[in-house]
């Protein structure tokens, strides 16, 4: 009953307030849908800082130049509260009430999957700097693009490196936390292991927030060479601590997300060693960019000055998402506010986009399972603590070729 009242009133009020927003000075109104509260707030905040950094630099320079005139950007936030339903509501509000020209996307796949159809409904293009789940791209949203390649594109790279260790690992245990992203990561790890002829002795998807110590005791009895884990940041920290507490170190511990994150290294200190991960960007990467930042180092310095932290790949990808929009809209030459035809045209420009940024190349795939994901990048494999790329490995080239014919 109460929930029902709440939803009705929400609906009624959103219809009432829809007409209230009037004309303002010509700026690009950009909706940012991300989780600023809830369980994913850590990652959400990373995306927020990335988007903010881009907007700040654009506005410091006077705005985006369209036909000789400069138009500033205005970021309008919608808190997804780490819940897909809230993300959809936020997207609905930004689209219907705030009449945004463009959207910058959420952190985490579930939230993106909820927000994307809503934006699709209102024909608003979105570039997201996070959300690495393959599911998003399988849905083939016309209006959704992403600067980070999906985990099935990147995740295998670290395993490829581990496979070259001497002696080569033979047996692996793969675990995933039960959320959309982590499960996809675990699936990728499992499939890649099989491809590399590493035997998967145990594969489990566990409910998030579990104490995995007893599980690890059981795993220890199997003595695998590799433990691969898909999960979010604090789960990774807990897993490493659990292994430490039971005094067990496999040859390689593989995690996809977060190993390059400063928080991970700070929280674990020495224990973060021996953890392998994959990433697409680090501040030490050699890149050459045209817009705003000339290279990765200058970007990192900017972030350090603004927030006092070292940026990770998600933050960089988010700033790069802003750059993608900037480049596309400049090519299009459309001044705000964008009408529906211009938004459609913007999608076409984005599809053809091929630019180089501090983050690396941005080139969205047109078809296949990586539809609209950025496949211009080269994933890197890392060993944590030093967070220095071990080597650059092309992902399974066959797949890569299929996606970009």
């Amino acid at each position: 009953m109460k929930r029902m009242t709440w939803i009705t009133l929400f609906l009624a009020l959103s219809l009432v307030t829809a007409g209230a927003v009037g004309a303002e000075a010509p700026v690009f109104k950009i909706g940012v849908i991300t989780s600023l509260s809830g369980g994913l707030a850590t990652g959400g905040n990373v995306t927020k800082q990335g988007y903010e950094m881009w907007a700040k630099r654009v506005n410091d320079a006077g705005g985006i130049e369209i036909n000789g005139k400069q138009y500033p950007v205005k970021l309008i936030y919608g808190d997804a509260q780490s819940e897909p339903s809230q993300a959809a509501s936020a997207a609905e509000r930004l689209a219907a009430q705030e009449k945004i020209d463009f959207a910058l996307g959420p952190y985490s796949s579930g939230v993106t999957l909820a927000a994307a159809p809503v934006l699709e409904k209102y024909k608003i293009p979105m570039v997201t700097g996070s959300a690495e789940s393959p599911l998003i791209w399988r849905e083939k949203f016309k209006f959704t693009f992403g600067t980070i390649p999906p985990v099935n594109f990147t995740g295998s790279s670290a395993l490829n490196v581990i496979a070259t260790l001497d002696p080569p690992p033979k047996r692996a245990v793969v675990i995933g936390s039960n959320d959309a992203f982590s499960k996809a990561t675990a699936e990728t790890f499992r499939d890649t292991c099989e491809k590399l002829k590493i035997k998967v002795m145990k594969y489990d998807i566990v409910p998030s927030g579990q104490d995995l110590t007893p599980y690890m005791s059981a795993v220890r009895a199997m003595r695998p060479d590799v433990i691969a884990f898909g999960g979010h940041d604090e789960e990774l920290i807990r897993l490493v601590k659990a292994l430490r507490q039971i005094h067990y170190a496999p040859k390689a511990l593989l995690m996809h997300y977060g190993v390059t994150e400063p928080a991970f290294i700070e929280a674990l200190g020495k224990d973060a060693e021996q953890v392998y991960g994959a990433s697409v960007w680090t501040p030490t990467l050699k890149t050459k960019g045209g817009l705003i930042w000339p290279d990765a180092q200058s970007y990192a310095a900017d972030i350090k000055a603004a927030f006092g932290i070292v940026p990770d790949y998600t933050m960089a990808a988010c700033s790069a998402a802003g750059l993608a929009f900037q480049a596309a809209v400049m090519q299009l030459g459309a001044a705000p506010p964008l009408d529906e035809a211009q938004k459609l045209a913007l999608v076409d420009v984005l599809e053809k986009l091929d630019i180089h940024t501090f983050y690396g190349p941005i080139k969205f795939s047109h078809e296949g399972e990586f539809y609209h994901a950025n496949t211009g990048l080269t994933p890197l494999a890392f060993r944590s603590r030093v967070a220095r790329p071990l080597s650059s490995v092309r992902p399974t080239t066959r797949r890569h070729r299929r996606s970009t014919p």
Binding site: T42, I175, Q210, L212, T213, P214, Y215, S217, Q245, A267
Partner: protein, 294 residues
């Protein structure tokens, strides 16, 4: 290999952590009939105080426990009158009022926590965390992580101290009288106001110490309090609401279920199993495993 001893041990060690999470919560419910939604937030705040103290002094987290307790005892003591106001007087449904009020407190603490501590996970280093005993004999092996053992020892110590306090001291007699009958306890000279403040202070103090423990064994973010609120709730319901002696057994029971399930049955179904078991036990015996709840 023979896993069972290890699985049981792990279950007991998890249970030890659950004891400390739930025992203060149960005490406060038993004495004041408050379901404190903010229990997880006290745990979170304690964890962060421990984290910063550890950073400044470099002392081992276990050595910091008394300091954390004293600080949060004070905070609890000062906050209690507001809660008392909410649950007393001519108000409808004090239980629900207390629940909603502490829900508000929870939001405030969480908001402040996020503002002050930021979003990242923290964890407190401890020398104990890096060592363990290892017995190995043929197929049989058993690892005892020091830090978790210390956690269990702490839980047992807290339980014994509370037991002693309630059963053997004059203060404890007053508390028990108060829990059973507020008015007549007052007539017999128990200062209910002060007693409630002290009990609430003890509860907040224990919860904060639990935070330090959790942050040493696992990690903590300002968003995570809610998880511990749920755990505290479940343990207390299993034990029987407000039935303090049931808490350790319920906590160990929960720990063992989790540990055995995740290893022997299905890792995916662990949480489902926990909720179903809770539901079934509630149906069979609403007053907890021992039928002694409120």
């Amino acid at each position: 290999m023979e896993l069972l001893p290890q699985v049981i041990l792990d279950g007991i060690l998890i249970g030890g952590i659950y004891i400390t999470i739930a025992i203060g919560f149960s005490l406060v419910f038993g004495v004041m009939h408050i379901i404190d939604f903010a229990v997880g937030e006290w745990i979170m705040l304690g964890a962060f105080l421990g984290y910063y103290l550890n950073g400044w002094t470099g002392l081992d987290p276990f050595a910091l426990l008394p300091v954390v307790f004293v600080v949060f005892f004070g905070i609890g003591y000062l906050i209690q009158p507001a809660i008392q106001r909410v649950i007393s007087g001519h108000r409808g449904n004090p239980l629900l009022m207390g629940l909603v009020f502490t829900f508000g407190i929870m939001l405030i603490i969480r908001g402040l926590g996020l503002t002050i501590f930021g979003f990242y996970s923290r964890s407190i280093p401890s020398k104990l965390a890096a060592s363990s005993w290892l017995f190995e004999k043929g197929d049989f092996f058993l690892t005892v992580p020091f830090v978790r053992l210390a956690g269990l020892a702490f839980a047992v110590a807290i339980t014994l101290v509370l037991h002693y306090m309630l059963k053997k001291t004059d203060f404890g007699t007053g508390v028990r009288a108060l829990a059973q009958h507020k008015e007549s306890a007052g007539l017999m000279g128990v200062d209910s106001h002060k007693t409630n403040c002290i009990i609430y202070g003890i509860y907040v103090g224990i919860s904060a110490m639990t935070g330090v423990l959790v942050c040493t064994i696992f990690s903590m973010t300002p968003m995570e309090g809610g998880r511990y609120t749920v755990l505290a709730f479940f343990v207390v319901v299993l034990a029987g609401m407000g039935y303090l002696p049931g808490v350790p057994w319920a906590a160990l029971f929960l720990g063992l279920i989790q540990s055995i399930f995740i290893v022997y049955l299905s890792a995916s179904y662990t949480l489902l199993a926990v909720f179903v078991v809770l539901y079934i036990i509630l149906l069979i015996s609403p007053k907890g495993l021992f039928g002694r709840g409120w």
